[in-house]
Amino acid sequence: MPGQTEAGSDSVIEVRELTKRYGDKTAVDDLSFTAPPGQVTGFLGPNGAGKSTTMRMIVGLDAPTSGTALVNGRPYAQHRAPLQELGVLLEARAVHPGRSAFHHLMALAYTHGVPRRRVEEVIDLAGLHAVAHKRVGAFSLGMGQRLGIAAALLGDPAVVMLDEPVNGLDPEGVRWVRELLRGLAAEGRTVMLSSHLMSEMAQTADRLVVVGRGRLLAETTVDALVERSEDKGVRVATGEPARLRSLLAAPGVTVTSTGAERLVVSGLDTRRIGQVAAEHRVPLYELVTESVSLEEAFMHLTQDAVEYHSSDAGRAA
Protein backbone atom coordinates (compact mmCIF):
# COMPACT_ATOMS: atom_id res chain seq x y z
CA MET A 1 0.00 0.00 0.00
CA PRO A 2 1.44 3.32 -0.96
CA GLY A 3 0.16 5.12 2.11
CA GLN A 4 1.87 2.79 4.50
CA THR A 5 5.33 3.45 3.23
CA GLU A 6 5.49 6.98 4.54
CA ALA A 7 3.62 6.87 7.81
CA GLY A 8 4.91 3.44 8.73
CA SER A 9 1.66 2.72 10.54
CA ASP A 10 -1.51 0.98 9.51
CA SER A 11 -3.80 2.74 7.10
CA VAL A 12 -6.47 3.91 9.46
CA ILE A 13 -8.72 6.76 10.34
CA GLU A 14 -8.52 7.52 14.02
CA VAL A 15 -10.89 10.02 15.55
CA ARG A 16 -10.28 10.98 19.17
CA GLU A 17 -12.63 13.05 21.31
CA LEU A 18 -13.52 15.18 18.34
CA THR A 19 -15.79 18.14 19.03
CA LYS A 20 -17.06 20.86 16.72
CA ARG A 21 -19.19 23.76 17.89
CA TYR A 22 -20.78 26.43 15.76
CA GLY A 23 -21.74 29.15 18.20
CA ASP A 24 -23.90 27.40 20.80
CA LYS A 25 -24.75 24.52 18.50
CA THR A 26 -22.66 21.39 18.91
CA ALA A 27 -22.39 19.54 15.60
CA VAL A 28 -19.95 16.88 16.76
CA ASP A 29 -19.74 16.02 20.42
CA ASP A 30 -16.74 14.19 21.89
CA LEU A 31 -16.71 11.62 19.09
CA SER A 32 -14.15 8.81 19.08
CA PHE A 33 -13.89 5.86 16.71
CA THR A 34 -11.47 3.99 14.48
CA ALA A 35 -11.77 2.78 10.92
CA PRO A 36 -9.35 -0.14 10.51
CA PRO A 37 -7.73 -1.41 7.29
CA GLY A 38 -9.18 -4.22 5.22
CA GLN A 39 -12.71 -3.46 6.28
CA VAL A 40 -15.58 -1.29 5.22
CA THR A 41 -16.64 0.94 8.07
CA GLY A 42 -20.11 2.34 7.78
CA PHE A 43 -20.67 5.76 9.30
CA LEU A 44 -24.33 5.77 10.04
CA GLY A 45 -26.69 8.33 11.43
CA PRO A 46 -29.75 10.40 10.66
CA ASN A 47 -29.49 13.69 8.80
CA GLY A 48 -27.77 16.34 10.86
CA ALA A 49 -25.96 13.81 13.03
CA GLY A 50 -22.60 15.38 12.24
CA LYS A 51 -21.32 12.82 9.73
CA SER A 52 -20.33 15.32 7.06
CA THR A 53 -18.81 17.69 9.61
CA THR A 54 -16.72 14.84 10.99
CA MET A 55 -15.50 13.94 7.51
CA ARG A 56 -14.64 17.55 6.79
CA MET A 57 -12.59 17.67 9.97
CA ILE A 58 -10.79 14.45 9.03
CA VAL A 59 -9.54 16.07 5.80
CA GLY A 60 -8.78 19.37 7.50
CA LEU A 61 -11.41 21.51 5.78
CA ASP A 62 -12.92 22.34 9.16
CA ALA A 63 -10.81 22.77 12.26
CA PRO A 64 -12.10 20.87 15.31
CA THR A 65 -13.04 22.87 18.38
CA SER A 66 -11.19 20.18 20.31
CA GLY A 67 -9.91 16.66 19.78
CA THR A 68 -7.96 15.16 16.90
CA ALA A 69 -8.53 13.27 13.70
CA LEU A 70 -5.60 11.24 12.41
CA VAL A 71 -5.16 9.61 9.03
CA ASN A 72 -2.48 6.93 8.95
CA GLY A 73 -0.98 8.25 12.13
CA ARG A 74 -0.98 12.00 11.53
CA PRO A 75 -3.28 14.88 10.79
CA TYR A 76 -4.29 14.77 7.14
CA ALA A 77 -2.74 18.16 6.39
CA GLN A 78 0.69 17.03 7.55
CA HIS A 79 1.08 14.39 4.88
CA ARG A 80 3.34 15.15 1.93
CA ALA A 81 0.96 13.53 -0.52
CA PRO A 82 -2.49 13.76 1.10
CA LEU A 83 -4.36 12.35 -1.90
CA GLN A 84 -2.24 9.23 -1.68
CA GLU A 85 -3.09 8.77 1.99
CA LEU A 86 -6.80 9.40 1.83
CA GLY A 87 -9.19 9.91 -1.05
CA VAL A 88 -12.38 11.68 -0.18
CA LEU A 89 -15.79 12.24 -1.71
CA LEU A 90 -17.68 14.96 0.11
CA GLU A 91 -21.43 15.12 0.00
CA ALA A 92 -21.64 18.62 -1.39
CA ARG A 93 -20.44 18.99 -4.94
CA ALA A 94 -16.81 19.97 -5.10
CA VAL A 95 -16.34 20.63 -8.79
CA HIS A 96 -16.41 23.78 -10.92
CA PRO A 97 -19.32 23.24 -13.34
CA GLY A 98 -17.49 25.03 -16.14
CA ARG A 99 -14.61 22.58 -16.22
CA SER A 100 -14.61 19.19 -17.91
CA ALA A 101 -14.28 16.04 -15.84
CA PHE A 102 -10.87 15.45 -17.40
CA HIS A 103 -9.56 18.90 -16.57
CA HIS A 104 -10.98 18.72 -13.06
CA LEU A 105 -9.09 15.52 -12.41
CA MET A 106 -5.96 16.85 -14.13
CA ALA A 107 -5.99 19.94 -11.90
CA LEU A 108 -5.99 17.69 -8.83
CA ALA A 109 -3.43 15.34 -10.38
CA TYR A 110 -0.96 18.15 -11.11
CA THR A 111 -0.71 19.11 -7.44
CA HIS A 112 0.71 15.67 -6.60
CA GLY A 113 2.55 14.86 -9.80
CA VAL A 114 0.04 12.13 -10.57
CA PRO A 115 0.54 11.15 -14.23
CA ARG A 116 -2.09 11.67 -16.91
CA ARG A 117 -2.22 7.90 -17.35
CA ARG A 118 -3.69 7.55 -13.86
CA VAL A 119 -6.28 10.24 -14.61
CA GLU A 120 -7.42 8.29 -17.67
CA GLU A 121 -7.43 5.14 -15.57
CA VAL A 122 -9.86 6.54 -12.97
CA ILE A 123 -12.03 8.04 -15.72
CA ASP A 124 -12.43 4.57 -17.22
CA LEU A 125 -12.86 3.02 -13.80
CA ALA A 126 -15.76 5.35 -13.02
CA GLY A 127 -17.32 4.76 -16.41
CA LEU A 128 -16.94 8.42 -17.44
CA HIS A 129 -15.03 7.81 -20.64
CA ALA A 130 -17.79 9.07 -22.93
CA VAL A 131 -18.34 12.31 -21.01
CA ALA A 132 -14.82 13.06 -19.82
CA HIS A 133 -14.52 16.15 -21.98
CA LYS A 134 -17.99 17.53 -21.33
CA ARG A 135 -18.55 20.32 -18.87
CA VAL A 136 -19.38 18.98 -15.43
CA GLY A 137 -22.29 21.42 -15.18
CA ALA A 138 -24.18 19.27 -17.66
CA PHE A 139 -23.69 16.10 -15.62
CA SER A 140 -26.52 14.24 -13.94
CA LEU A 141 -26.33 13.72 -10.19
CA GLY A 142 -25.18 10.17 -10.75
CA MET A 143 -22.38 11.17 -13.11
CA GLY A 144 -21.33 13.83 -10.62
CA GLN A 145 -21.07 11.13 -7.95
CA ARG A 146 -19.00 8.99 -10.30
CA LEU A 147 -16.66 11.90 -10.93
CA GLY A 148 -16.35 12.46 -7.18
CA ILE A 149 -15.47 8.80 -6.68
CA ALA A 150 -12.95 8.98 -9.52
CA ALA A 151 -11.34 11.98 -7.80
CA ALA A 152 -11.25 10.10 -4.50
CA LEU A 153 -9.36 7.22 -6.12
CA LEU A 154 -6.98 9.44 -8.11
CA GLY A 155 -4.04 9.23 -5.72
CA ASP A 156 -4.40 5.45 -5.30
CA PRO A 157 -5.07 6.11 -1.62
CA ALA A 158 -4.63 3.73 1.28
CA VAL A 159 -7.79 5.10 2.86
CA VAL A 160 -10.99 5.92 1.00
CA MET A 161 -13.67 8.00 2.68
CA LEU A 162 -16.96 8.62 0.92
CA ASP A 163 -19.87 10.72 2.12
CA GLU A 164 -23.20 9.30 0.89
CA PRO A 165 -21.59 7.78 -2.23
CA VAL A 166 -24.72 6.19 -3.67
CA ASN A 167 -26.79 9.39 -3.63
CA GLY A 168 -28.30 9.87 -7.04
CA LEU A 169 -26.92 6.65 -8.48
CA ASP A 170 -29.10 4.23 -10.41
CA PRO A 171 -29.31 0.60 -9.23
CA GLU A 172 -26.43 -0.39 -11.49
CA GLY A 173 -24.37 2.45 -10.05
CA VAL A 174 -25.25 1.46 -6.50
CA ARG A 175 -24.06 -2.06 -7.19
CA TRP A 176 -20.93 -0.71 -8.79
CA VAL A 177 -20.06 1.36 -5.71
CA ARG A 178 -20.76 -1.58 -3.42
CA GLU A 179 -18.48 -3.90 -5.36
CA LEU A 180 -15.84 -1.23 -5.74
CA LEU A 181 -15.72 -0.60 -1.99
CA ARG A 182 -15.69 -4.31 -1.15
CA GLY A 183 -12.85 -4.70 -3.64
CA LEU A 184 -10.86 -1.85 -2.12
CA ALA A 185 -11.27 -3.30 1.36
CA ALA A 186 -10.24 -6.72 0.09
CA GLU A 187 -7.01 -5.14 -1.14
CA GLY A 188 -6.31 -4.15 2.43
CA ARG A 189 -7.38 -0.53 2.18
CA THR A 190 -9.39 1.29 4.78
CA VAL A 191 -12.83 2.16 3.51
CA MET A 192 -15.26 4.40 5.31
CA LEU A 193 -18.58 5.50 3.94
CA SER A 194 -21.43 7.41 5.44
CA SER A 195 -25.11 6.90 4.93
CA HIS A 196 -28.39 7.54 6.64
CA LEU A 197 -29.78 4.27 5.25
CA MET A 198 -29.22 1.14 7.29
CA SER A 199 -30.29 -1.15 4.46
CA GLU A 200 -27.49 0.13 2.29
CA MET A 201 -24.91 -0.31 5.03
CA ALA A 202 -26.01 -3.86 5.76
CA GLN A 203 -24.98 -4.84 2.26
CA THR A 204 -21.67 -3.01 2.14
CA ALA A 205 -20.19 -2.50 5.59
CA ASP A 206 -18.45 -4.83 8.01
CA ARG A 207 -18.32 -2.43 10.91
CA LEU A 208 -20.68 0.32 11.93
CA VAL A 209 -20.10 3.60 13.66
CA VAL A 210 -23.54 4.90 14.56
CA VAL A 211 -23.92 8.55 15.50
CA GLY A 212 -26.80 10.80 16.46
CA ARG A 213 -26.67 14.48 17.34
CA GLY A 214 -22.93 14.39 17.01
CA ARG A 215 -22.49 11.68 19.61
CA LEU A 216 -21.33 8.11 19.24
CA LEU A 217 -24.31 5.80 19.76
CA ALA A 218 -22.64 2.52 18.90
CA GLU A 219 -19.44 1.18 17.43
CA THR A 220 -20.29 -2.33 16.41
CA THR A 221 -20.32 -4.83 13.57
CA VAL A 222 -23.19 -5.44 11.23
CA ASP A 223 -23.37 -9.05 12.46
CA ALA A 224 -23.59 -8.01 16.10
CA LEU A 225 -26.38 -5.62 15.32
CA VAL A 226 -28.25 -8.33 13.43
CA GLU A 227 -27.92 -10.74 16.36
CA ARG A 228 -29.02 -8.16 18.85
CA SER A 229 -32.03 -7.23 16.83
CA GLU A 230 -33.38 -10.77 16.36
CA ASP A 231 -35.48 -11.09 19.45
CA LYS A 232 -38.94 -9.84 18.98
CA GLY A 233 -40.89 -13.06 19.45
CA VAL A 234 -42.95 -15.56 17.51
CA ARG A 235 -46.11 -14.61 15.70
CA VAL A 236 -48.85 -17.23 16.08
CA ALA A 237 -52.28 -17.41 14.47
CA THR A 238 -54.59 -20.00 15.95
CA GLY A 239 -58.28 -20.90 16.17
CA GLU A 240 -58.08 -21.23 19.95
CA PRO A 241 -55.97 -18.39 21.19
CA ALA A 242 -57.21 -18.47 24.77
CA ARG A 243 -56.41 -22.15 25.15
CA LEU A 244 -53.01 -21.91 23.53
CA ARG A 245 -52.25 -19.02 25.78
CA SER A 246 -52.85 -21.00 28.93
CA LEU A 247 -50.94 -24.00 27.54
CA LEU A 248 -47.88 -21.89 26.82
CA ALA A 249 -47.91 -20.08 30.14
CA ALA A 250 -44.62 -20.61 31.96
CA PRO A 251 -42.04 -18.50 33.79
CA GLY A 252 -40.07 -16.37 31.34
CA VAL A 253 -42.69 -16.62 28.64
CA THR A 254 -44.89 -13.73 27.71
CA VAL A 255 -47.83 -13.99 25.41
CA THR A 256 -49.62 -10.96 24.06
CA SER A 257 -52.73 -10.86 21.99
CA THR A 258 -52.51 -8.78 18.84
CA GLY A 259 -55.85 -9.65 17.24
CA ALA A 260 -58.83 -12.03 17.35
CA GLU A 261 -56.77 -15.10 16.41
CA ARG A 262 -53.31 -13.70 16.83
CA LEU A 263 -50.68 -13.93 19.54
CA VAL A 264 -47.08 -12.87 19.89
CA VAL A 265 -45.03 -15.18 22.07
CA SER A 266 -41.62 -14.40 23.42
CA GLY A 267 -39.40 -16.74 25.38
CA LEU A 268 -40.22 -19.78 23.26
CA ASP A 269 -39.13 -20.73 19.77
CA THR A 270 -41.35 -21.90 16.92
CA ARG A 271 -40.35 -25.52 17.45
CA ARG A 272 -41.53 -25.61 21.07
CA ILE A 273 -44.76 -23.77 20.33
CA GLY A 274 -45.52 -26.14 17.48
CA GLN A 275 -44.94 -29.17 19.71
CA VAL A 276 -47.25 -27.87 22.44
CA ALA A 277 -49.96 -27.08 19.91
CA ALA A 278 -49.69 -30.52 18.33
CA GLU A 279 -49.79 -32.34 21.66
CA HIS A 280 -53.00 -30.57 22.60
CA ARG A 281 -54.46 -30.57 19.09
CA VAL A 282 -54.68 -26.79 18.85
CA PRO A 283 -54.92 -25.77 15.20
CA LEU A 284 -52.23 -23.34 14.05
CA TYR A 285 -52.60 -21.23 10.90
CA GLU A 286 -49.35 -19.37 11.17
CA LEU A 287 -46.12 -19.76 13.12
CA VAL A 288 -43.37 -17.25 12.28
CA THR A 289 -40.32 -15.85 14.04
CA GLU A 290 -40.60 -12.09 13.95
CA SER A 291 -37.19 -10.54 13.50
CA VAL A 292 -36.54 -6.88 13.88
CA SER A 293 -35.19 -5.53 10.62
CA LEU A 294 -31.86 -3.78 10.67
CA GLU A 295 -33.71 -0.66 9.74
CA GLU A 296 -35.84 -0.98 12.88
CA ALA A 297 -32.79 -1.70 15.01
CA PHE A 298 -31.17 1.42 13.63
CA MET A 299 -34.30 3.48 14.21
CA HIS A 300 -34.45 2.20 17.75
CA LEU A 301 -30.81 3.09 18.30
CA THR A 302 -31.19 6.58 16.97
CA GLN A 303 -34.77 7.49 17.82
CA ASP A 304 -33.78 9.80 20.64
CA ALA A 305 -31.07 11.37 18.59
CA VAL A 306 -32.90 12.24 15.42
CA GLU A 307 -32.13 15.87 14.81
CA TYR A 308 -35.04 16.63 12.56
CA HIS A 309 -38.29 14.80 12.96
CA SER A 310 -40.56 14.55 9.99
CA SER A 311 -42.47 17.72 10.84
CA ASP A 312 -39.20 19.57 10.18
CA ALA A 313 -38.31 17.49 7.16
CA GLY A 314 -38.01 20.52 4.96
CA ARG A 315 -35.06 21.78 6.94
CA ALA A 316 -33.27 18.47 7.03
CA ALA A 317 -30.83 19.33 4.31
Binding site: P2, L90, Y110, D156, A186
Partner: protein
Protein backbone atom coordinates in the same frame (compact mmCIF):
# COMPACT_ATOMS: atom_id res chain seq x y z
CA UNK B 1 -18.93 -3.04 -15.58
CA UNK B 2 -18.01 -5.95 -13.35
CA UNK B 3 -16.16 -6.05 -10.09
CA UNK B 4 -13.18 -7.74 -11.78
CA UNK B 5 -12.43 -4.89 -14.11
CA UNK B 6 -12.78 -2.45 -11.24
CA UNK B 7 -10.29 -4.08 -8.94
CA UNK B 8 -7.80 -4.83 -11.65
CA UNK B 9 -7.70 -1.28 -12.91
CA UNK B 10 -7.50 0.11 -9.39
CA UNK B 11 -4.47 -1.96 -8.64
CA UNK B 12 -2.94 -1.50 -12.06
CA UNK B 13 -0.78 1.37 -10.87
CA UNK B 14 -0.03 -0.13 -7.47
CA UNK B 15 2.83 -2.47 -8.38
CA UNK B 16 4.89 0.52 -9.52
CA UNK B 17 4.17 2.09 -6.12
CA UNK B 18 4.50 5.68 -7.31
CA UNK B 19 5.61 8.23 -4.78
CA UNK B 20 3.55 11.36 -5.18
CA UNK B 21 4.24 14.60 -3.42
CA UNK B 22 2.77 18.09 -3.30
CA UNK B 23 5.28 20.79 -4.23
CA UNK B 24 4.95 24.53 -4.80
CA UNK B 25 5.75 24.12 -8.48
CA UNK B 26 3.09 21.46 -8.89
CA UNK B 27 0.46 23.63 -7.24
CA UNK B 28 1.40 26.39 -9.72
CA UNK B 29 1.07 23.88 -12.56
CA UNK B 30 -2.36 22.92 -11.25
CA UNK B 31 -3.53 26.53 -11.00
CA UNK B 32 -2.22 27.19 -14.49
CA UNK B 33 -4.30 24.29 -15.78
CA UNK B 34 -7.34 25.43 -13.80
CA UNK B 35 -7.05 28.92 -15.26
CA UNK B 36 -6.96 27.91 -18.91
CA UNK B 37 -9.56 25.14 -18.60
CA UNK B 38 -12.36 27.62 -17.86
CA UNK B 39 -14.08 29.48 -20.64
CA UNK B 40 -14.68 32.48 -18.36
CA UNK B 41 -10.92 33.05 -18.15
CA UNK B 42 -10.56 33.38 -21.91
CA UNK B 43 -13.63 35.55 -22.25
CA UNK B 44 -12.86 37.96 -19.41
CA UNK B 45 -9.21 38.27 -20.36
CA UNK B 46 -10.27 38.95 -23.95
CA UNK B 47 -12.72 41.59 -22.75
CA UNK B 48 -9.97 43.30 -20.75
CA UNK B 49 -7.68 43.49 -23.77
CA UNK B 50 -10.55 44.61 -25.95
CA UNK B 51 -11.40 47.47 -23.56
CA UNK B 52 -7.79 48.52 -23.45
CA UNK B 53 -7.19 48.48 -27.19
CA UNK B 54 -10.58 49.59 -28.42
CA UNK B 55 -10.99 52.55 -26.08
CA UNK B 56 -7.38 53.62 -26.65
CA UNK B 57 -7.74 53.49 -30.42
CA UNK B 58 -11.10 55.29 -30.40
CA UNK B 59 -9.69 57.99 -28.11
CA UNK B 60 -6.75 58.50 -30.47
CA UNK B 61 -8.95 58.48 -33.55
CA UNK B 62 -11.29 61.09 -32.06
CA UNK B 63 -8.43 63.39 -31.11
CA UNK B 64 -8.52 66.85 -32.60
CA UNK B 65 -6.18 69.72 -31.74
CA UNK B 66 -9.27 71.74 -30.74
CA UNK B 67 -10.41 69.13 -28.21
CA UNK B 68 -9.78 68.94 -24.47
CA UNK B 69 -6.19 67.77 -24.97
CA UNK B 70 -5.56 70.36 -27.68
CA UNK B 71 -2.70 72.77 -27.34
CA UNK B 72 -0.51 70.18 -25.65
CA UNK B 73 2.78 69.02 -27.07
CA UNK B 74 4.39 65.63 -27.26
CA UNK B 75 6.22 66.06 -23.95
CA UNK B 76 2.90 66.30 -22.11
CA UNK B 77 2.37 62.62 -22.78
CA UNK B 78 -1.13 63.26 -24.12
CA UNK B 79 -0.64 60.47 -26.68
CA UNK B 80 -0.13 58.03 -23.81
CA UNK B 81 -3.15 59.37 -21.95
CA UNK B 82 -5.23 58.59 -25.04
CA UNK B 83 -3.67 55.16 -25.61
CA UNK B 84 -4.30 54.16 -22.00
CA UNK B 85 -7.78 55.67 -21.72
CA UNK B 86 -9.27 52.19 -21.37
CA UNK B 87 -7.17 51.23 -18.36
CA UNK B 88 -9.92 51.72 -15.76
CA UNK B 89 -12.40 49.56 -17.60
CA UNK B 90 -9.71 46.96 -18.30
CA UNK B 91 -8.87 47.02 -14.59
CA UNK B 92 -12.46 46.20 -13.84
CA UNK B 93 -12.38 43.16 -16.13
CA UNK B 94 -8.98 41.98 -14.94
CA UNK B 95 -9.94 42.45 -11.30
CA UNK B 96 -13.28 40.73 -11.72
CA UNK B 97 -11.54 37.74 -13.27
CA UNK B 98 -9.22 37.63 -10.27
CA UNK B 99 -12.26 37.53 -7.98
CA UNK B 100 -13.86 34.78 -10.06
CA UNK B 101 -10.69 32.67 -9.87
CA UNK B 102 -10.75 32.61 -6.09
CA UNK B 103 -14.31 33.36 -4.91
CA UNK B 104 -15.60 31.20 -7.76
CA UNK B 105 -14.06 28.20 -6.06
CA UNK B 106 -16.21 28.86 -3.02
CA UNK B 107 -19.43 29.42 -4.92
CA UNK B 108 -19.00 26.22 -6.93
CA UNK B 109 -17.61 24.06 -4.12
CA UNK B 110 -14.39 23.45 -6.07
CA UNK B 111 -12.52 24.85 -3.07
CA UNK B 112 -13.19 21.62 -1.17
CA UNK B 113 -11.40 19.62 -3.84
CA UNK B 114 -8.62 22.18 -4.01
CA UNK B 115 -7.93 22.22 -0.29
CA UNK B 116 -8.35 18.46 0.08
CA UNK B 117 -5.49 18.15 -2.42
CA UNK B 118 -3.45 20.98 -0.89
CA UNK B 119 -4.48 21.08 2.77
CA UNK B 120 -1.72 23.58 3.54
CA UNK B 121 -3.96 26.11 1.68
CA UNK B 122 -1.39 28.91 1.47
CA UNK B 123 0.43 27.37 -1.53
CA UNK B 124 -2.86 27.74 -3.40
CA UNK B 125 -2.97 31.48 -2.66
CA UNK B 126 0.63 31.99 -3.80
CA UNK B 127 0.09 29.81 -6.86
CA UNK B 128 -3.08 31.62 -7.92
CA UNK B 129 -1.27 34.96 -7.73
CA UNK B 130 1.87 33.57 -9.36
CA UNK B 131 -0.22 32.29 -12.25
CA UNK B 132 -2.75 35.04 -12.71
CA UNK B 133 -0.55 38.07 -11.90
CA UNK B 134 1.88 37.34 -14.76
CA UNK B 135 -0.94 36.36 -17.13
CA UNK B 136 -2.72 39.64 -16.45
CA UNK B 137 0.57 41.56 -16.67
CA UNK B 138 1.62 40.06 -20.00
CA UNK B 139 -1.74 40.39 -21.73
CA UNK B 140 -2.26 43.93 -20.41
CA UNK B 141 1.20 45.03 -21.47
CA UNK B 142 0.63 43.62 -24.94
CA UNK B 143 -2.78 45.28 -25.04
CA UNK B 144 -1.30 48.65 -23.99
CA UNK B 145 1.44 48.29 -26.59
CA UNK B 146 -1.08 47.49 -29.31
CA UNK B 147 -3.30 50.37 -28.27
CA UNK B 148 -0.36 52.76 -28.36
CA UNK B 149 0.91 51.57 -31.73
CA UNK B 150 -2.53 51.71 -33.36
CA UNK B 151 -3.19 55.08 -31.74
CA UNK B 152 0.17 56.41 -32.93
CA UNK B 153 -0.82 55.62 -36.48
CA UNK B 154 -3.97 57.70 -36.00
CA UNK B 155 -2.04 60.53 -34.36
CA UNK B 156 0.68 60.57 -37.01
CA UNK B 157 1.67 64.15 -37.79
CA UNK B 158 -0.14 65.63 -34.80
CA UNK B 159 1.74 67.77 -32.33
CA UNK B 160 1.22 65.33 -29.48
CA UNK B 161 2.46 62.30 -31.44
CA UNK B 162 4.96 60.09 -29.61
CA UNK B 163 6.92 57.06 -30.72
CA UNK B 164 7.81 53.95 -28.76
CA UNK B 165 11.45 55.02 -28.66
CA UNK B 166 10.72 58.32 -26.90
CA UNK B 167 11.93 58.61 -23.36
CA UNK B 168 9.52 57.20 -20.80
CA UNK B 169 6.99 55.82 -23.29
CA UNK B 170 7.92 52.21 -22.80
CA UNK B 171 7.99 52.67 -19.02
CA UNK B 172 4.41 53.98 -19.10
CA UNK B 173 3.12 51.08 -21.20
CA UNK B 174 4.93 48.62 -18.97
CA UNK B 175 3.51 50.51 -16.00
CA UNK B 176 -0.01 49.97 -17.28
CA UNK B 177 0.75 46.25 -17.52
CA UNK B 178 2.19 46.17 -13.99
CA UNK B 179 -0.84 48.05 -12.62
CA UNK B 180 -3.30 45.68 -14.27
CA UNK B 181 -1.27 42.64 -13.25
CA UNK B 182 -1.45 43.81 -9.64
CA UNK B 183 -5.16 44.58 -9.92
CA UNK B 184 -5.50 40.93 -10.91
CA UNK B 185 -3.73 39.95 -7.69
CA UNK B 186 -6.02 42.32 -5.74
CA UNK B 187 -8.97 40.53 -7.29
CA UNK B 188 -7.69 37.11 -6.22
CA UNK B 189 -7.11 38.27 -2.65
CA UNK B 190 -10.41 40.15 -2.35
CA UNK B 191 -12.18 37.03 -3.64
CA UNK B 192 -10.53 34.93 -0.94
CA UNK B 193 -11.42 37.49 1.70
CA UNK B 194 -15.13 37.77 0.88
CA UNK B 195 -15.61 34.30 -0.72
CA UNK B 196 -18.43 35.63 -2.85
CA UNK B 197 -18.35 36.51 -6.54
CA UNK B 198 -20.75 39.43 -6.57
CA UNK B 199 -19.47 40.90 -3.32
CA UNK B 200 -15.86 40.63 -4.39
CA UNK B 201 -16.46 42.25 -7.76
CA UNK B 202 -18.48 45.05 -6.14
CA UNK B 203 -15.69 45.78 -3.66
CA UNK B 204 -13.09 45.73 -6.40
CA UNK B 205 -15.11 48.04 -8.64
CA UNK B 206 -15.66 50.35 -5.70
CA UNK B 207 -11.97 50.57 -4.90
CA UNK B 208 -10.90 51.06 -8.52
CA UNK B 209 -13.66 53.37 -9.77
CA UNK B 210 -15.58 54.90 -6.87
CA UNK B 211 -13.18 55.34 -3.97
CA UNK B 212 -10.98 58.01 -5.63
CA UNK B 213 -14.04 60.25 -5.92
CA UNK B 214 -14.96 59.77 -2.28
CA UNK B 215 -11.68 61.13 -0.95
CA UNK B 216 -13.12 64.56 -1.78
CA UNK B 217 -15.26 64.10 1.34
CA UNK B 218 -12.17 64.08 3.55
CA UNK B 219 -10.53 67.33 4.74
CA UNK B 220 -8.60 68.54 1.71
CA UNK B 221 -5.01 68.03 2.90
CA UNK B 222 -5.71 64.55 4.22
CA UNK B 223 -7.91 63.75 1.24
CA UNK B 224 -5.18 64.66 -1.24
CA UNK B 225 -2.59 62.52 0.51
CA UNK B 226 -4.90 59.50 0.79
CA UNK B 227 -6.08 59.95 -2.74
CA UNK B 228 -2.57 59.82 -4.21
CA UNK B 229 -1.87 56.43 -2.74
CA UNK B 230 -5.12 54.74 -3.65
CA UNK B 231 -4.54 51.89 -6.12
CA UNK B 232 -6.14 53.70 -9.05
CA UNK B 233 -4.15 56.93 -8.62
CA UNK B 234 -0.94 55.12 -7.75
CA UNK B 235 -1.60 53.15 -10.92
CA UNK B 236 -2.01 56.36 -12.90
CA UNK B 237 1.35 57.58 -11.67
CA UNK B 238 3.21 54.55 -13.00
CA UNK B 239 1.71 54.99 -16.47
CA UNK B 240 1.87 58.77 -16.78
CA UNK B 241 4.80 60.35 -18.60
CA UNK B 242 5.13 63.40 -16.38
CA UNK B 243 3.15 63.80 -13.20
CA UNK B 244 1.77 67.16 -14.19
CA UNK B 245 -0.64 67.64 -11.32
CA UNK B 246 -0.37 67.34 -7.55
CA UNK B 247 -2.73 64.42 -7.56
CA UNK B 248 -0.02 62.01 -8.65
CA UNK B 249 3.16 60.84 -6.96
CA UNK B 250 6.34 59.80 -8.77
CA UNK B 251 6.28 56.50 -10.71
CA UNK B 252 8.58 54.90 -8.15
CA UNK B 253 6.38 55.97 -5.23
CA UNK B 254 3.31 54.86 -7.15
CA UNK B 255 4.77 51.42 -7.77
CA UNK B 256 5.71 51.14 -4.10
CA UNK B 257 2.16 52.05 -3.08
CA UNK B 258 0.73 49.42 -5.45
CA UNK B 259 3.05 46.78 -4.03
CA UNK B 260 2.21 47.74 -0.45
CA UNK B 261 -1.49 47.31 -1.25
CA UNK B 262 -0.73 43.89 -2.72
CA UNK B 263 1.24 42.81 0.34
CA UNK B 264 -1.50 43.98 2.71
CA UNK B 265 -4.21 42.18 0.78
CA UNK B 266 -2.12 39.01 0.47
CA UNK B 267 -1.48 39.04 4.21
CA UNK B 268 -5.19 39.49 4.88
CA UNK B 269 -6.16 36.68 2.52
CA UNK B 270 -3.49 34.39 4.00
CA UNK B 271 -4.81 35.02 7.52
CA UNK B 272 -8.35 34.27 6.50
CA UNK B 273 -7.30 31.10 4.70
CA UNK B 274 -5.38 29.81 7.70
CA UNK B 275 -7.93 30.72 10.32
CA UNK B 276 -11.33 29.99 8.87
CA UNK B 277 -12.99 26.75 7.92
CA UNK B 278 -13.46 26.17 4.23
Amino acid sequence: MSADTITSSTTASSPACPVYRVTGGRVVRSEWSKFWSLRSSWITLGVAVLFLVMIGVIAAALYTPDGPLGGKDAASGAALTLALAGTNLAALAVGALGVLLSAGEYSTGMVRSTFAAVPGRLPVLWAKCAVYGPIAFVTSTLGALLSFLLGSAALHGEKIALSLGDAGVFRCLLGAGVYLGLVGVYGVTVGLLVRNNAGGIAILAGVVLVLPGLTGLLPSSLGDTVSRYLPSNAGQSVMTLHASSDSLVSPGAGLTALLVWAVLLLAGAACRLRRNDV
